[in-house]
Symmetry: C2
Subunit: 878 residues, 2 copies
């Protein structure tokens, strides 16, 4: 039996999203509910997949089925397709499993041609309506199917209106419509070298094909990548009998939500236009009326619609987004779906639905997209002010939120201006670890180079600071303290605004409104999430400030406290550099002794901030050359400063040069080479813990020390021995019964492959999935940008493996490590501290493979809490 | 029951090597065979391991056992340890599982002190002998156990001889010996601040401990690393009753082999010294006599020894290396072991033993260490000439063989001088791909920088050219065409000689003798190996020359033909650079069209050379920046040459800059970005194959195309589609029924982890274990040198994972990929083409996991053949 590629609406139902797409499934569901839906059929997503398999052709058997179902539709409707006597016209719409902007949307009035339009005019007795429908069809078909410029059609309408001296489409009469049809067809003929297609069945097949084709257009591809929608899914096509909102004064079309999608307020919300077709509402040719007016204008229709809306919300147990058309006073439903909503609305609706008894708490927790929460945690632009602003350029939306401040070009200036009370935006070619302090006091950060995972982006996300990165169109002139963008200069002190959620850059200040994440709904909702989740959520924090921020967002501990950023500040970097330039162990120890009190102080601050909660401190990780200057003048200055010759300093810098620093002398390799570094760091941790424990006897501090980049158990064992012998001595001397733990990052493939051996020497594993991803794929984050665009274009990768954990490859290693590790050491605890720890799909994976906690930057903590809850509800562990 | 740490010789046997070490097991075996062995006991290797576990202390229970067995030995010998009346003296020797130079060897005459020596004099009636023994003991104990300088003792002997006016030790009388004892003890007291130890039991324990300690000395560690001996094994200690070769004219000591260890000739071979102890033979204080003289001097002893030697060879079925002592006309055997031998001797002995019916062919194949074969494949220095030469310096023994030629400093000069008939040695700071041709015509290559895996080293090994790399003491002055080493200048045109097997550098020419790998024994022996092995052995070859060399050494195909080296030559590099600088696909295609005929020609040459055997051609792999110049002047010149602006060229170079080129835009990522490269390469392969097939209808060419650096099946699929559509079109146009295959390297961890998916798109896998090792360990070969020394020092890694495949980590990935790959595609064939393909232990691993072939550089082919045969004999596949 031939495969079924086409379903009547009455043959489907709401559970068939995969096959029929969201729109098709919901049309079928409404049909089954007995609602007034113009009948039609859905061409399945499998037909789309087949279309691509067949080299972008619709196979004859599928064409046959489409025509067969067209016949059945004619029977149901009692009209014949393209029959001048009583013509059946159809709309053709795309409908993927998930709603997807960027794809072809709609063609209305298909089936019209020069003959049928006449028949329609006669049959309806409304020639203006017939020709209006025809000109709309030509316009849409030319634009969407034949890819002619939409703009020219609009110009033609404007020309006709101008000649006539009217302002609104509605003021054009039948003659004008005919004129439009004539001019449209002429334009089509000129552009395409052939007349506008007159054969309705051919029009239909072209339209279906155009929907399939639009699945693969660039905007759709970008949207899919951003939203993790697989390319393989394909789209369905819905062919539906036309009903006409443009049939006169008792006709109209509109869209409405069962609740307010911006605020969540429970009330019908939406708008409609009399005597119009769908695209008029969107195009804004006339200002639509609020849905409440319909109550006065057509009370029965309004009541019927309100009743249907209520029924649909009850049925789907969620806020619905509906399209409807009124044809001569009769209501038709064209679409319903769960409505998109703002984060605030999502929370309110979820909480309200629980209070209304429509869903339970678990269901509510599942209803909010964790990624949406982000918007509630960062300042945003005042939306009215934003509407008026025009971006002067854009870069990558590297870290969300809105920023508005005065331009400075160095981290030092940022600090200085900040100290005198100025709000600043730091503009740099790129940032480096030395800029941290300046970044911390900036409202926002704008860089010319670097991607979503550049230093600026990663650090800004960690801080919750707005950042737009990689705006290559900017030319920075540090010397003259200005930058040029789109031909205009912006000087130090000029106000600019950044939108880190869109990547847009604005000249001048745009007022921002602060986030209010502690609102009642938020608190209640997150409480439910915390109740259901089974993983703990920690934060990555290097400073007391970050630690407090993480706690404010609900972090239960620190999963990654990096120790290297602490070394960049003032006196510390000096001692650090002394350490690096040391030729003997004694010299190195002397320099380390200078660093010890700073480091101890930092740790004390962090322990205080976390009030006895777990803190995992990672030992020194980056290659040492990162602490040395690269510019000739800086080297000269530093040499003088340190009292060594320039030659000596150059020799050190040269000797530290690496071909592939990612895979060089870093991580625990530093501690293996120079165990005195690990000794100093251990001393700082233990002394800090003892001091804070002394001040707070009510807490029970258990320092956790994490050794990075381990690939071999003996490597861990060696460094661990240094740690334990130092720690044990200090604790003995202090007469303290304090316990401590030593664990390791799993971030080198070999560590995952030999995790059983490593687990025997480790108290915990923390998956460093950033590096693990780099090494498993064999590409460097810093370099991959150059070729990943080709990979996206060619559908080789659909998602950025640094944003979403690659479950097939990297995830396999994680699973192996979990199984081997737990097998060898059942007491082992397991976490993740890569950036994936704040990504919802990755968090779900972590739950599934059995991790005990995820750790992410403070601003991602609420996201991780919610994602962990959703994972636990979907896949409860026993 | 307490663990047994000590065994009498009579309690052990030859199979107990692991516990008793080689020497101990063989002493036990000889004891069991009823041979005259002075009795004693062995302290086990487990005691050594325990010594290190206990923090370098001999546990009391082990000490107790040692003293207990000393007592049992006294009973057997009928003497008492350190009893002045009839003293038992002992020797203490190390004895690991494998014979290991670099460890403490021997202490003789232990048990003597100021009292016992008098008793010995009285008991033997030979005071000269007694004091000779005592002074020897002081000397050895001070040197080996107490680490005093040996040299000073020799000076004291020379002083006494000078005072006395004699030349030989043998001319010193009792008084002189007493004087030596006195002076030795004075020196000891002065250095150590305490008298020479007089307590024999303490001496014994000190000596045992010194043996254990010597297991961890630097020389032993280096030797173990080179020979893949695990640190965990530990050494045993043998304590044996002394017999005295220095007891007078009817006494003596010697070493002998059952066959000549240099040639393999079947005849007792060795030497002995009358009235001497063991170390005299080695030290060369007197010239020993050949063993044949013993036949005249002491015929019964000789006959007895010859009979024992014959019996031992029969018993062990291998050539024996024996130590013996004659005490007053009585023969004692002190050691036997399988004798070390040259490669030539190893072959001859193996073949002879088969012919003598002593072993079968399989056993013979197992008898030769594959690594030894190397020596038979490269020219060697004339051994007499070499003896007279003194090295002027040394570097790393990067590629074996001997070279002698005149110094040149550039690859161009090497070519030019070679063309006028000069033999040259190329001296460079380091080499780069552009130097290939110059390297090819050089006798040897000497570099200042770079390790065992530097460009120079890798390429030289591939070519079979001698190379000494990383000689940091050399200062090269390119401008004045000279280099300085150890204070002396060597100018262009000066003769130097290099030994690539030792790393030594010599001034002046040393004559070399060519290798003769086709000798009768070699051919016969390799025939047996080929008969038993179950894997095929291919060679890595980029040129017809390499291909022919590989075939001459028995390669059955080419497992890796890299295509990038072909692009560096003359016109080609120009077209290559044009391709890189192209801004559009058309420009790129134009440049590629220029490369096509060269590439096709190269492939034709290789197909011709291989006469129809398999050839796996790998597509372009390195990042494109490797083809562009880096120096400002070269960039200027190239820009002019290409007719582009310097700015444009700079922009291209900048845009190609990578932070981690290892993990950058290379491998199949190039073909994904620029599929036209893969198209051109496919065209070249298929056209070449068609042309050669046309000329040789008797062959059946099946081109094999290998896509590098795949990490995701869709990546392979994309490039494969480019290849197949191009190839299918060409074959269709040619009307040829030729088959071809498309496979991939497995060199990225993710490829191994997703090998099932990849296998469904691949005809074959070739494991690229160089890159796979880098990514699995997360370290770059180019950078690892900096920290690996710390790792070796600290016993974290005992072997270089780039030399020997890391079976635990990388090997695990290989096994996974084999299982997943074969599971998904049973027809998949599997090979390896990393450098590990020529390493015997790695080859054994490849056999075990089920690979179909290994591929290695031509000069390693015989090694791989033998290693594969040994693997198959040890672990036959069914």
């Amino acid at each position: 039996m031939a495969k079924k590629y086409v379903y009547l609406f009455s043959e489907g139902n709401g559970s068939m999203r995969e096959l029929l797409g969201g729109k098709g499934a919901n049309l079928a569901e409404m049909t089954n509910l007995g609602m007034p839906v113009p009948q039609g059929f859905t061409v399945t997503t499998e037909a789309c997949t087949r279309y691509y398999q067949d080299g972008r052709q619709i196979a004859p058997e599928i064409q046959d089925q489409i025509y067969e179902y067209l016949g059945r539709m004619e029977q149901i409707c009692g009209k014949k397709f393209a029959d001048p006597e009583n013509p059946l016209l159809v709309s053709v719409r795309s409908g993927a499993r998930a709603s997807m902007p960027g794809m072809m949307d709609t063609i209305l009035n298909l089936g019209l041609n020069d003959t049928v339009v006449e028949g329609l005019a006669k049959f309806t007795g409304n020639p203006r309506f017939a020709y209006d429908s025809y000109r709309r069809f030509i316009q849409m078909f030319s634009d969407v199917v034949m890819e002619l410029s939409k703009k020219r059609f609009e110009e033609i309408i404007d020309e006709v209106k101008a000649q006539k001296g009217v302002e609104n489409d509605i003021d054009l009469d039948t003659g004008d419509m005919k004129e439009l049809v004539r001019r449209f067809k002429d334009f089509y003929q000129k552009e395409k070298g052939e007349p506008f297609p007159q054969e309705p069945r051919a029009q239909l097949m072209e339209a279906v094909q155009a929907v399939f084709r639009s699945w693969d257009n660039p905007r759709a591809n970008v949207y899919r990548r951003m939203n993790e929608i697989p390319y393989e899914w394909g789209t369905a096509v819905n062919v539906q009998a036309m009903v006409f909102g443009n049939a006169g004064g008792r006709s109209g079309t509109g869209v409405a939500f069962t609740r307010n999608p911006a605020t969540g307020e429970k009330a019908l919300f939406g708008e409609y236009l009399i005597n119009a077709q769908g695209e008029d509402v969107v195009a804004g040719v006339r200002t639509p009326s609020p849905i409440s007016h319909l109550r006065e204008e057509m009370p029965e229709v309004y009541d019927q619609f309100a009743a249907i809306a209520g029924r649909l919300e009850q049925h789907y147990r969620d806020m619905q987004d509906m399209e409807f058309t009124i044809e001569n006073g009769t209501l038709y439903m064209l679409q319903t779906r769960n409505g998109k909503r703002t984060a605030a609305a999502a929370l309110k609706i979820a909480v309200d639905l629980v209070d209304e008894g429509m869903i339970d708490e678990r269901e509510a927790v599942l209803r909010v997209d964790p990624k949406q929460l982000d918007a509630l945690l960062h300042p945003q632009f005042d939306s009215d002010a934003l509407k008026k602003a025009k971006p002067i350029g854009s870069g990558l939306a590297a870290s969300p939120g809105a920023a508005c401040g005065r331009v400075v070009f160095t981290a030092e200036d940022a600090k200085a201006w900040h100290e005198r009370g100025e709000k600043v935006v730091l503009v740099r070619l790129e940032t480096s670890p030395e800029d941290i302090e300046g970044m911390q006091v900036s409202q926002g950060i704008l860089t010319v180079r670097g991607g979503m995972t550049s230093h600026a982006a990663v650090v800004a996300r960690g801080m919750g600071t707005c950042c737009v990165s990689g705006c290559g169109e900017i030319a920075v002139d540090y010397e003259n303290r200005k930058f040029t963008l789109a031909g205009k200069d912006y000087r130090e002190g000029d106000w600019i605004s950044l939108d880190g959620s869109t990547g847009n850059i604005y000249a001048g200040p745009i007022p921002t409104v602060p986030a209010d994440p502690s609102s009642g709904d938020f608190g209640r909702f997150m409480g439910w999430a915390d109740q259901y989740r089974q993983m703990e959520v920690y934060t990555n924090a290097d400073t007391p400030r970050d630690a407090r921020q993480g706690r404010a967002f609900g972090a239960q501990g620190i999963g990654l406290c990096r120790t290297e950023h602490m070394f960049f500040d003032g006196e510390r970097i000096k001692a650090m550099r002394e350490m690096i330039v040391s030729e003997t162990t004694e010299e190195r120890r002397k320099a380390l002794d200078k660093l010890l009190p700073y480091q101890q102080g930092d740790f004390e601050g962090i322990y205080e901030a976390m009030e006895g909660r777990p803190v995992v401190i990672r030992f020194l990780d980056p290659p040492l050359h990162e602490f040395l200057p690269t510019k000739e003048e800086d080297i000269r200055e530093l040499a003088a400063d340190m009292g060594v010759t320039e030659e000596r300093l150059h020799a050190v810098i040269d000797s530290l040069h690496e071909f592939n620093p990612m895979m060089g002398h870093r991580g625990c390799r530093l501690a293996v080479s120079f165990p005195e570094i690990a000794e100093m760091q251990t001393t700082a941790v233990i002394r800090a813990a003892l001091a804070v424990q002394g001040r707070h006897p009510e807490w029970t501090l258990v320092p956790e020390i994490m050794i990075p980049l381990v690939g071999e158990v003996k490597e861990l064992k060696y460094v661990k021995d240094v740690v334990t012998s130092t720690a044990d001595r200090l604790l003995r001397e202090a007469g303290s019964p304090m316990k401590y733990e030593v664990g390791t990052m799993i971030e080198v493939p070999r560590a995952a492959l030999t995790a059983d051996e490593i687990a025997r020497e480790a108290d915990f594993f923390s998956f460093g999935t950033n590096d693990l991803t780099q090494m498993t794929f064999g590409f460097s984050r810093d370099d991959a940008g150059k070729f990943l665009t080709y990979y996206y274009d060619k559908k080789i990768y659909e998602a950025d493996p640094f944003a979403h954990l690659d479950q097939k490859g990297v995830g396999r290693l994680v699973e192996m490590a979990v199984q081997l590790g737990k097998g060898a050491n059942p007491a082992l605890h397991l976490g993740i501290c890569g950036e994936h720890g704040g990504d919802p799909t990755s968090v779900e994976f972590c739950h599934r493979v059995g991790l005990d906690y995820v750790s992410c930057s403070p601003y991602r903590v609420p996201i991780a809490r919610l994602a962990a809850a959703q994972a636990a509800i979907k896949n409860p562990r026993n």
